[in-house]
Amino acid sequence: MSNTRYTADHEWVRLEAGVATVGITNHAQTALGDIVFVELPDPGREIEAGEACAVVESVKAASDIYAPLRGHITETNPEIIGDPAMVNRDPESEGWFFRMIPADLAAFDALMDADAYAKLVGSL
């Protein structure tokens, strides 16, 4: 059983030992195009599910990234600040955005699994 879930806003969340790693999906990076700037939340910040907590900018436009779960931020990915194009190259692994400790693990299980997300993307 995979420990990765997805949101309708095209973020992925991977849960490992109580820590959730969050990034944007391959579908999202394709839709955004060349990513030139990423702004990430400060570690320690408390976030609500659905709260805008990061920004990703392509050449054409800025997009908000929404917290997939309620919790607090523990760590951000410095690599994508210096090299935003890494999000285009490897969105679902090296191009992660931030890590957080979810307040409610049941909320993680309520997110879409890979099949449900693939269906969502297929319907777009």
Binding site: G33, D34, V36, F37, V59
Partner: protein, 370 residues
């Protein structure tokens, strides 16, 4: 900006080609055009700066104005020395209103007794109605929806085009000629909207795809979309109607005083001359300037600018991340007093002030072949 339309966007003669090339089609000024191809905006931008890029600009309005007094007639509605435009040459001009505002910017080329006009897609309907209603009698104004327009831009554009049209290599910047390209009768100008050397080729719609495929088959050439066109024109310091200039901005505010023409600035005989002269004599209340924001974050249209003392300085009209500069760049209207190059300002970005300095344009030097 053109108003949202309820009708589906129109397709250029190259629509099928764009789809085949994997173009991401978006609505723009009432047309469906590729914002990018699978290569992406940055690669397409670099292709244009380093080699040659082919853009479909068939959405632009193409008009002709025929008659022995065509240039004098157009001068009643436009700035610039159009009667002084020699055959085989092209010039940038502006349609102005009585308040000195810019109704549209356009390219005017002359061949014998015919002027060929290229206007913005989102303004073509208004421009045609305006010209039809106000041009003096004795000229024949026509729209040419049966023509497509291709822009081949970049330092190697001349090498590619010369194989299909040897005469193109002898043209200089802003030359205009009727030439066969790959055996197709075209109207060719050596000009564009990227700051690079290059050509715009007006071609009958039914031959446009054939010509585009011939150009794309040349080793220097790759397709580029609207996204790269926008980042290229911004780096080149070229304003976009509806974004950086419109009916409420004068040529002086927009930094387009050079387009007025020396003779017309003696005669003051174009629409809005009094208002424009007032801006020239007494200074415009605001100026369109280049802006270099600190850091890597793009500063977009609508962003508020503050002066060092915290007072309002102006507003960004266009902004992007510039691939050639590898930095964000922007255009902004700023008030008198804070428009000098080097003036430190702050851009309010998501509530936080980001330092930005007024900078000369173009951000990337033009490389026209004169």
């Amino acid at each position: 900006m053109s108003p949202p339309s309820l009708s589906p966007p129109r397709r250029t003669p190259l629509y099928a080609l764009h789809e085949q090339l994997g173009g991401r089609m978006v609505p723009f000024a009432g047309w469906s055009l590729p914002v990018q191809y699978p290569t992406g905006i940055i690669a397409e931008h670099r292709q244009c700066r380093e080699r040659a890029a082919l853009f479909d600009v068939s959405h632009m309005g193409q008009f002709s104005l025929h008659g022995p007094n065509a240039a004098a007639a157009l001068e009643t509605l436009a700035v610039g020395d159009l009667t002084g435009l020699r055959g085989g040459r092209q010039r940038y001009s502006l349609l102005t209103n009585d308040a000195g505002g810019i109704l549209d910017d356009l390219m005017v080329g002359r061949l014998n007794e015919t002027l060929h006009l290229v206007v913005n897609a989102g303004r073509a309907g208004e421009d045609f109605a305006h010209l039809s209603a106000h041009l003096p009698a004795g000229t024949d104004l026509r729209r040419h929806p049966d023509r497509a327009l291709l822009a081949l831009q970049g330092p190697l554009a001349v090498d590619a085009l010369a194989r299909l049209c040897p005469a193109a290599a002898a043209m200089s910047f802003m030359d205009f000629a009727a030439l066969d390209v790959a055996g197709i009768a075209c109207l060719v100008t050596r000009s564009g909207y990227t700051g690079e050397d290059g050509f715009e080729i007006s071609v009958p719609s039914d031959a446009a795809e054939t010509l585009a495929r011939r150009l794309l088959a040349e080793p220097e050439v790759a397709p580029a979309g609207l996204g790269a066109r926008d980042s290229l024109r911004l780096e080149a310091g070229l304003p976009l109607w509806g974004q950086d200039i419109d009916e409420l901005t004068t040529p002086v505010e927009a930094g387009l005083t050079w387009a007025l023409g020396k003779r017309r600035r003696m005669a003051w005989d174009f629409p809005g001359a009094a208002a424009i002269r007032n801006h020239l004599d007494n200074g415009a209340p605001r100026k369109l300037v280049g802006l270099l924001p600190e850091g890597r974050a793009p500063v977009r249209a609508g962003t508020v600018l503050l002066a060092e003392d915290g007072s309002a300085a102006g507003t960004v009209t266009s902004g992007t991340f510039a691939p050639t500069c590898d930095a964000p760049i922007a255009f902004a209207y700023v008030r008198r007093g804070v428009s000098q190059d080097g003036t430190p300002l702050a851009a309010l970005l998501r509530g936080k002030p980001v330092p930005a300095v007024v900078a000369p344009v173009p951000f990337v030097p033009h490389r026209y072949v004169r």
